[in-house]
């Protein structure tokens, strides 16, 4: 660059040098300027990705913290225990048990009533162990406080968990609660927030009654008086073990006393199932969009390099290093991405309140929206990092450019090597053949299309599976989430089993009846498990509960929850020791189960197998009734026939539907959202590709027009040239995704104990959607190719 004097004496040359120095960044600015559409695409995609990423991080990071915050605020227990005996003797021995345990930090014991019961919710029924509390008692608990979040001042009635606030359950309305099998009507006074007993997912559900109503119920004796204990532990990670131990201790001392319990770990997970599923989907979408954004960036850079090959070569020739040329690119894209990401994060805070409302209706725990720095930083870091990586990887080529080659190669955009489709021999039509030639000459485009269509195929398959299994027919979804489904479940005392069976066998409405009853057992080297017993597992409705191996057949066999087995390194064929009621026995593991109800802490035993340990305290029978039978009437009839000997009857159908309706509405929203997004994405990607293709084919199109090809024919050719890649990758993607969708869903649902998903893959629906996708892509490609119109053969004029 000469001396200072030289510069002064020669202003012209210094200007020129300055120009060259800036040329690198000018090139890039013109790159973005020329590719306005692409720049906009990148901004929008990154914005969306940032929006979803931030939303996901906020949901997954702070929502669970929020649970802990509330847990602390209400001084909640880590183990909640309801013991059906309100005697002084029981209080004494409980006090003794709690006092002896060094792990226990504090506890509270309050009178309550406990009974299996149900109430209507969302056109279905919520069926749970109901814990009925008196208002003042509930509010004054030292451990396991309950806070009223909405109070109307109505003096006599019921307070419901805020989770159930809905159209039918609202302040001032009257609801019916079945306690045991007695229906009682209450006026809703308000709503409360309870962490450990605020949802049917917590394995017990609290209801608060005003004093008068409480006394009234107490007098009827519909529900057994019990003690509700909330126990705080020094180490909350021990909650499951403690729960199992306490249950074990109590049941060994008082084998006849019914108990219900839950633990921090169980509640923590179960109250966030839908929120986790939602967060999972949002994160998946975020990553899909990010992936597509990266593809766009990579293709933009490839185009940039191709178009500016000469200039880049020239810059290199005058001494630019590869790094100096890549630097501005990096700054440009990362800067753009960061700006878009910040905007996206801002947008996520605009959207968060709506998502929050939706989430609160799922978790039932209040959440106040506030600024979260960590998710923001992670979002920014992830986006900046991936964009930087993508830019660097695709711009690396610049390093390899040799000035001379680059200067010469600007002329020819590509070098054909082989004639893939000689017109001379091909059987396909002229336009098809020309389109195919284009297809085969642009492998990079095909890869981009392939990736996009693979992603979209996954989306289509996911949507198809969701539509088929959740929206159209909830069965498979419910079987996965709920486990066994029949029409009715009747819990009877052991004494009347034979009579009961004789009665129902004789009833013409009953198609099938089988034992399906649960009890607590304890894995000697582990924690407590819920054992589900059946006299003959070949009769259960949901055979997919055992997804590997087989159901237990003999009394020394057990099928174990896969999640638990994995955590404890247990495999099929191994032996495990279990204990209940003071006895121990060994069982061979014959299979793995998945039931989300107990979050992967359960096992299946034959009845004989369980009876090696302990007698059954009560037995639940599942019944399938003939189509069209009135389940409620049947239940009532059985109840009437056996009276108090029947503990509960449940209309399983109705219960399940109630729970399912929530999922269906959620799913419809998700499906709709994803559909719109997919159309946007495919339009976007095609827009970019068509733009690039038309750019590089401008000369060819000019020639073809001169030779007499009409605009329509060229549009057809352009659109057709995308079709092989679109069709192949869509078909391949749909086929592949149809096979991997179930494992993939299982990965998402792993935390709730689902290891293998067995959703029906609706072949027809997916094939139809795939065809639709292809046709739509073709349509979009045609529309986008309309730019061919602007190409005039006049461009071939020699220079006048």
């Amino acid at each position: 660059m000469g001396t200072g004097r030289g510069m002064r004496s020669c202003p012209l040359s210094s200007g020129k040098w300055g120009g060259e120095m800036r040329k690198g960044s000018i090139l890039i600015r013109s790159n973005l300027h020329k590719a306005k559409g692409q720049a906009a695409a990148i901004v929008i995609l990154i914005l969306l990705a940032a929006l979803m990423l931030d939303l996901w991080l906020m949901l997954s990071m702070d929502y669970k913290k929020n649970f802990d915050r509330y847990h602390e605020k209400l001084n909640e227990g880590h183990v909640t225990l309801a013991v059906d005996d309100d005697s002084a003797r029981m209080r004494g021995s409980l006090r003794e048990i709690f006092g002896e345990d060094e792990d226990i930090e504090g506890y509270s014991m309050d009178p309550a009533m406990h009974m299996v019961g149900l109430f209507g919710y969302n056109d279905g029924e919520i069926n749970s162990e109901l814990i009925l509390l008196e208002k003042q008692t509930a509010l004054s608990r030292s451990v396991g406080k309950i806070e009223i979040v909405e109070d109307s001042g109505i003096e006599s009635g019921i307070y419901m968990p805020m989770l159930y606030k809905s159209e039918d359950i609202a302040v001032g309305k009257t609801i019916q609660v079945s306690v045991g099998s007695h229906k009682i009507s209450y006026k809703v006074c308000g709503f409360f927030n309870s962490i450990m007993a605020g949802s049917h997912n917590c394995s017990m559900c609290a209801l608060i009654l005003t004093e008068d109503k409480y006394r009234e119920l107490e007098e009827t004796g519909y529900a057994s008086r019990s003690i509700l204990c909330s126990v705080r532990l020094k180490d909350k990670n021990e909650s499951e073990d403690q729960e199992a131990m306490l249950e074990e201790t109590i049941s060994s001392r008082y084998p006849d006393i019914r108990t219900a319990s839950n633990s921090y770990a169980l509640v923590y997970q179960s109250r966030y199932i839908s929120q986790m599923v939602c967060a999972g989907i949002v994160s998946a979408m975020a990553f899909f969009i990010l992936l597509i954004a990266l593809v766009v960036i990579v293709s933009n850079i490839n185009d940039y390099i191709q178009e500016n090959m000469k200039d880049l070569g020239a810059l290199k020739a005058i001494g630019y290093t590869g790094q100096q040329l890549i630097g501005p690119l990096l700054i440009q894209f990362v800067g753009l991405s960061l700006l878009a990401a910040v905007a996206g994060i801002g947008l996520s805070y605009c959207l968060f309140p709506y998502v929050n409302t939706m989430m609160i209706s799922q978790t039932g725990i209040p959440y106040a929206v506030h600024f979260l720095p960590l998710p923001m930083f992670i979002t920014l870091a992830v986006l900046a990092g991936t964009v930087m990586l993508a830019v660097w990887v695709s711009a690396r080529k610049i390093k390899k450019i040799e000035p001379i080659t680059a200067l010469r190669q600007g002329v020819h955009t590509h070098d054909p090597k082989r004639d893939h489709i000689p017109l001379e021999k091909t059987k396909v039509s002229l336009h098809m053949a020309l389109a195919l030639k284009t297809t085969l000459s642009g492998i990079k485009h095909n890869v981009t299309i392939g990736v996009t269509m693979l992603v979209l195929s996954l989306v289509v398959v996911f949507l198809g599976v969701m539509v088929e299994n959740v929206i159209a027919d909830m069965g498979p979804f419910l079987r996965l989430i709920v486990g066994e489904i029949a029409d009715s479940c009747i819990n009877v005392q052991p004494g009347i089993e034979e009579d009961f069976l004789r009665e129902v066998h004789a009833d013409p409405r009953v198609e099938k009846v089988y034992l399906y009853s649960s009890a607590e057992v304890r894995h000697v080297d582990g924690v407590g498990l819920v054992a589900t017993m059946c006299d003959d597992f070949s009769r259960v409705n949901n055979k997919s509960v055992v997804f590997e191996g087989r159901f237990p057949e003999f009394d020394n066999e057990v099928a174990l929850a896969a999640k638990y087995a994995r955590e404890n390194d247990l495999e099929i064929g191994m032996e495990m020791t279990m204990t209940a009621g003071g006895k121990k026995a060994d069982y061979i593991i014959t299979g793995f189960t998945q039931i989300s109800n107990n979050l992967g802490k359960d096992c299946l035993l034959t009845r004989a197998g369980y009876e090696r340990l302990s007698e059954m305290r009560d037995t639940s029978y599942y019944l399938d009734l003939a189509d069209g039978s009135d389940i409620d009437a049947f239940n009532a009839q059985i109840k009437e026939r056996f009276g108090d000997q029947v503990n509960t009857t449940i209309n399983v159908d109705a219960t399940v539907e109630g729970a399912g309706a929530v999922y269906v509405s959620l799913m419809i929203m998700i499906v709709g959202g994803i559909l719109v997004l997919s159309v946007l994405v495919i339009t976007f990607v095609l827009y970019l590709l068509v733009r690039t293709l038309l750019g590089s084919k401008k000369r060819d199109h000019g020639i073809l027009k001169a030779l007499g090809f009409t605009t329509g024919q060229l549009i057809l050719q352009t659109a057709l040239s995308f079709m092989p890649a679109i069709t192949c990758s869509t078909i391949a993607g749909l086929t592949l995704c149809s096979f991997i969708i179930n494992p993939l869903i299982a990965v998402f649902l792993r935390s709730i104990g689902i290891v293998k998903s067995t959703f029906v893959v609706p072949v027809g629906l997916i094939a139809g959607a795939g065809a639709g996708l292809i046709v739509m892509a073709f349509g979009i490609a045609c529309l986008l190719s309309l730019r061919v119109r602007k190409i005039a053969p006049r461009g071939l004029l020699t220079g006048e």
């Binding site: 284009t438 020639i703 007499g708 090809f709 004029l797 020699t798």
Partner: protein, 252 residues
């Protein structure tokens, strides 16, 4: 009396550049005759190529009409023009304009299959034409970047003739070639003209112009003069002098 192939009436073409209209062609009244080898000459910027492209339906005139047979092609829309071009016109460009992504044979067939659906007949015609311009079977399989400029231009001629057009339009066909290969191309064109092919060629090169039997001199968008040379004979001295005199008169 020769058959009139193409006739223009007050053909004018204007381009707007920087806000002002520039009239490249002005009031051109012209008749092109069947079997003629018409050469359009003129200094660069005289509007030669514009005239060629307007005549051939590659571009629409701003004013005036062009009549082909009994059809007024200046009134056709873009697609109509495209169909007109593919059936009735053949083009040879200065930059040759073969499509790089296709083999030589495919370049020709892509044009041919547009009009002729009988692939066997088409292939036969393509092979005949290739043989006529001395392009070997092996070269037919090559790609445009792999062949020399002269070969490429001869392929360009084959492509132009594949649909048996009424008129072959050539825009400085030797402009991008060296003298020897350029001569080959000119010989090829002359040969086809002798077989009855009407040719309209734009050139500013005397050596090329000599091949024509009718020379039009274009200046500032108008036809300044016309000269009838008669059939081309190799080494015809008098013919050459006549042309020189004509061009001198035109201020060449």
């Amino acid at each position: 009396m020769k058959n009139i192939l193409l006739k223009t009436d007050h053909l004018s073409k204007s381009f707007s550049s920087g806000g002002t209209l520039q009239h490249v062609l002005k009031n051109i009244d012209l008749e092109l005759y069947q079997g003629d080898y018409t050469v359009i000459m003129g200094a660069s910027g005289a509007g030669k190529s514009t005239l060629l492209y307007a005549l051939s339906g590659m571009d629409t005139p701003s004013l005036g009409t062009i009549t082909f047979g009994d059809r007024v092609i200046s009134e056709l829309d873009q697609d109509g023009l495209a169909v007109f071009r593919r059936r009735h016109c053949g083009f040879v460009f200065q930059q040759i304009y073969l499509i790089d992504g296709m083999s030589v044979m495919d370049n020709v067939l892509a044009a041919g299959l547009l009009v002729n659906k009988d692939k066997r007949a088409l292939l036969a015609r393509a092979r005949d034409l290739f043989a006529a311009v001395d392009i070997s079977g092996e070269t037919q399989k090559k790609f445009p970047t792999q062949i020399s400029g002269g070969e490429a231009q001869r392929v360009g001629i084959v492509r132009a003739l594949i649909n048996d057009p009424e008129i072959l339009f050539a825009d400085e066909p030797t402009g991008a070639l060296n003298s020897k290969t350029g001569l080959d191309v000119l010989d090829t064109l002359t040969r086809f003209n002798e077989q009855g092919q009407s040719v309209v060629m734009v050139t500013h090169d005397m050596r090329s112009a000599r091949r024509g039997n009718r020379i039009l001199y274009l200046k500032d968008g108008s036809i300044l003069g016309e000269c009838d040379l008669g059939r081309y004979e190799h080494g015809d001295r008098a013919r050459h002098e006549k042309l020189s005199a004509f061009l001198g008169e035109m201020g060449w």
